[in-house]
């Protein structure tokens, strides 16, 4: 089998979801303090982690992400009182669903970071990038490949028994 990476180090791409009040501000804080973390994460800002629709996670994987990091305020610190608890419930469901689809649990991670925890944020990102790097590329079929596959005539190759 040929090496798909062609000898290069695998650079995963991770989509991170941040809430406007805590984890996005933690990311800002990491920036202001010039804390360094790998450039493999790309962030989406939502108002609250409770806004996280499971579709967003599937969309990220389907668009080629190798990992998804979900972040929010610490339990009990939610700007909207308790919506991060609702995310927690969904998160467990999403993790199970993804496992059943053959996606390693390490590719979906939930992390709490308060607005003051820039250091924690950068550390968690660093850890996740390394973990996903170890897991390797996800190689989920893209929508186009799926279309190609679906368009193919189903064929069953039979082998002649000796």
């Amino acid at each position: 089998m040929s090496d798909p990476l062609d000898g290069k180090t695998f650079e995963p791409v991770i989509i991170g979801f941040t809430c406007n009040w805590c984890s996005y501000r933690a990311a800002d804080m990491a920036g202001m303090a010039r804390m360094k973390y790998p450039p493999n994460i790309r962030l989406v800002r939502v108002m609250c982690s409770g806004r996280l629709d499971p579709t967003f996670i599937f969309k990220a994987f389907a668009s080629g992400a190798d990992g998804v990091m979900v972040t929010g305020c610490h339990p009990g610190d939610c700007h909207y009182i308790e919506q991060n608890y609702k995310l927690m419930r969904r998160f467990i469901l999403m993790q199970r669903t993804l496992e059943q689809m053959g996606i390693e649990p390490g590719r979906l991670k939930l992390t709490w970071a308060s607005a003051a925890e820039g250091a924690k944020f950068s550390e968690e990102v660093t850890n996740m990038v390394e973990e996903v790097r170890r897991l390797g590329p996800l190689n989920w079929p893209s929508a186009e490949t799926m279309d190609e596959w679906m368009a193919k005539e189903p064929s069953i190759e039979t082998e002649e028994r000796p």
Partner: protein, 669 residues
């Protein structure tokens, strides 16, 4: 790279603006390349103009965008620069001035989330392209929005009756606004009322504070609620409903004239752990101190003989106005306010947590608050500086700085006031007793008006300074001359030697800490604490008294340790900000709200219970749910939970977020 979403909008004309931020972004990201790439590769996504500029937020940068909107007929704008928390409003306002709906402008962060945290220029440039592509795909799906206008109730809640709260309340009340000033204790004054002198001017703390307390207590525009606590907060900026529990004083305020006979006649004496810091006594019915505002005493239920044994009632017998009421109950008040100011202050570090300093074990080790009371003319010794026996005058005194501060084991931060407070103690000790004073400090921090001059004055007065952290305070004598003394063992880092200095008295300059209930209070008002427990300001430099929660403001030591001038300045600043909101009459809120499309709603009611603000109601007849935009806070939880996809989260719609994810993933080497 065209978006594949089916809900593709009619082709927009998008302008892209990439900021260098001097070298802040351009140092790590090839800004010109990002702009060039967007102009070529994102053409199919609607990008018609793509530029880079040194400082996009400058007036020239903003004018460039406005010019393009007008001349090129842009319908959308994406700025790739700093965090939206910093400049989103700047660019949205710029677009609005050129006639564009401000919510059709997106600011994506390639500084805080890219150039500042990465070092590899090629990778940071690639990531910037991805972030920008996310913004471009998102902006095409933005919808024009109008900010919500909500009226501001003119009344204000101030929590905390220390010097900061008093200042804020008076500023507003003098300006004709009505203030509810809520204080947990039985009197206004806070920590400042306990202090003897204030540095560096050495003016008497009570003399400058009590007139303010009286003004606040008498002010026609201030409803003073002492011995009260806020138990509930509901609503949102402009329209909060506050529930306050006014604890039973067992003294009727309408009848009491503050004569003090009840206190005089009360047979029960208890150690005063509050105002007198454990050095003095008070009665079971008491006012915290003679100048207390309001003048009405309270009965301490835990210690009152009547409440314990069912007999006594001496106070009731002797009260000339019949004001004692043993059957009084807590009162629950509900008041509407438009803005909230939290000035709940601090607590002092508990010196018992550092056992090697001997506080609580060695009699003549005092905390700073104890020394304040000891040196106070109204204190237990009448201002005479003595040892714990109340008689002996100390001949040598050691003052230890940074107790509980600048120490990884306790608090890493500097408590800001301890150096000056220690210098003040040294001066007072020398003045009153002529004792030899040693100050043990790590660094001398005197950055305030006339502060360093005060340090020099202490040097001239012969106070001895030892630079180094104290290891131990002990009463075990090892060397001649140490018998019967407290020995301070410290490293003198200037001469590089360990020293043992025998003294009669040790004062621990204890640091400031967030109050034990700071986290609970923060939760009640919907704001956040730092890891240390201090309340987080919206912007540490430019918005020091605002929080991320609209309508909730913070001032004084609750934001972090500070001295009296800084606390008072914040009290005034916060009042000015609130006054500005009240004068506007109404406030604009971000239109990030959810709405339910009645035609798509199946009436399943899943969303109803998800909303913590009770913003969603169900119409039985039509069998659909509806969001009340005034109550909706825009978290979007219902949007993601709706099985029918009938709920739209304005500003953060599914289409916008899915398109952004697509954009973020579109660039990969």
């Amino acid at each position: 790279m065209a978006a594949e979403s089916e809900t593709k909008q009619p082709q927009e004309r998008i302008g892209v603006y990439v900021c260098h931020c001097g070298s802040n972004i351009a140092g790590t990201v090839d800004v010109a390349e990002v702009a060039r790439w967007a102009g070529e590769e994102l053409k199919d996504d609607g990008v018609v103009v793509s530029r880079d500029y040194k400082f996009m937020c400058s007036s020239l940068g903003q004018e460039m965008i406005q010019k393009d909107i007008v001349e090129q007929g842009l319908t959308r704008v994406v700025v790739a620069a700093c965090s939206p928390h910093l400049h989103e409003a700047t660019f949205r306002n710029a677009c609005a001035r050129a006639g564009m709906n401000p919510y059709l402008c997106e600011l994506v962060s390639i500084r805080e989330q890219c150039s500042w945290v990465h070092t590899d220029k090629a990778k940071a440039t690639e990531k910037s392209k991805a972030i920008l592509a996310g913004g471009v795909l998102r902006v095409a799906r933005d919808t024009p929005l109008e900010p919500m206008r909500v009226p501001i109730h003119p009344d204000v809640l101030v929590v905390g009756g220390g010097v900061t709260g008093i200042q804020a309340a008076l500023e507003l009340a003098n300006g004709g606004k009505h203030v509810y000033l809520v204080e947990k204790d039985s009197t206004l004054g806070g920590h400042m009322a306990q202090l003897d002198k204030t540095f560096p001017t050495l003016d008497c703390s009570a003399c400058i504070l009590t007139p303010r307390m009286v003004s606040a207590g008498n002010h026609p525009n201030i409803t003073l609620l002492t011995w009260s606590e806020v138990t509930g907060v509901s609503g949102y900026v402009g329209n909060f409903t506050i529930t306050i529990r006014k604890k039973a004083r067992f003294v009727r305020e309408d009848l009491c004239n503050g004569c003090g006979v009840c206190t005089e006649k009360c047979p029960k004496k208890v150690v005063d752990d509050g105002f007198e810091a454990g050095l003095g006594y008070r009665k079971a019915v008491y006012t915290a101190f003679p100048q207390a505002v309001p003048k009405y005493p309270v009965i301490d239920v835990e210690n009152c003989t009547y409440f314990i044994k069912g007999t006594c009632k001496a106070c009731e017998k002797f009260c000339p106005t019949g004001a004692i009421d043993f059957n009084q109950e807590d009162e629950i008040l509900t008041v509407p306010v438009g803005n909230i100011i939290l000035a709940t202050g601090y607590q002092t570090f508990d010196a018992r947590r550092i056992p090697q300093y001997g506080y609580g074990r060695l009699a003549n080790v005092f905390t700073s608050m104890e020394f304040e009371r000891l040196s106070n003319a109204a204190g237990p010794t009448g201002g005479k500086v003595t040892l714990r026996d109340g008689k002996t005058t100390p001949k040598t005194v050691g003052i230890i700085h940074c107790v509980g501060s600048r120490d990884k084991k306790y608090n890493e931060y500097c408590s800001a006031i301890c150096c000056m407070q220690s210098l003040k103690f040294a001066h007072v000790v020398k003045e009153r007793t002529g004792a030899q004073v040693y100050e043990f400090y790590i660094d001398m921090r005197t950055p305030g008006k006339s502060y360093d001059e005060f340090y020099l004055r202490n040097l001239e007065e012969g106070v001895l300074f030892v630079r180094g952290r104290v290891a131990e305070v002990t009463d075990v004598a090892r060397l001649p001359g140490e018998e019967g003394k407290l020995i301070i063992q410290a490293e003198d880092s200037l001469i590089g030697k360990q020293r043992r200095i025998p003294v009669d008295m040790v004062i621990l300059s204890t640091g400031l800490e967030p109050r034990d209930d700071a986290k609970e209070v923060a939760k009640l008002f919907g704001i956040s604490c730092s890891a240390d427990g201090w309340y987080i300001e919206r912007h540490v430099k430019l918005e020091p008294i605002s929080t991320m929660t609209e309508g909730v403001f913070i001032a004084g030591c609750v934001v972090g340790p500070k001295d009296i001038p800084a606390s008072v300045a914040q009290g005034s600043a916060v009042a000015a900000r609130v006054y500005q909101y009240i004068q506007q009459g109404e406030i604009s809120l971000e239109p990030y709200r959810a709405t339910i499309n009645a035609e798509e709603c199946s009436g399943c009611r899943i969303c109803n219970d998800l909303c913590p603000f009770n913003a969603i109601s169900y119409h039985e007849e039509e069998q659909v749910s509806e969001v009340n935009p005034a109550l909706c806070q825009g978290c979007g939880t219902c949007v993601s939970a709706c099985p029918a996809g009938a709920i739209t989260g304005w500003g953060f719609s599914d289409e916008q977020i899915l398109a952004q994810i697509e954009g973020l993933m579109a660039v990969r080497s």
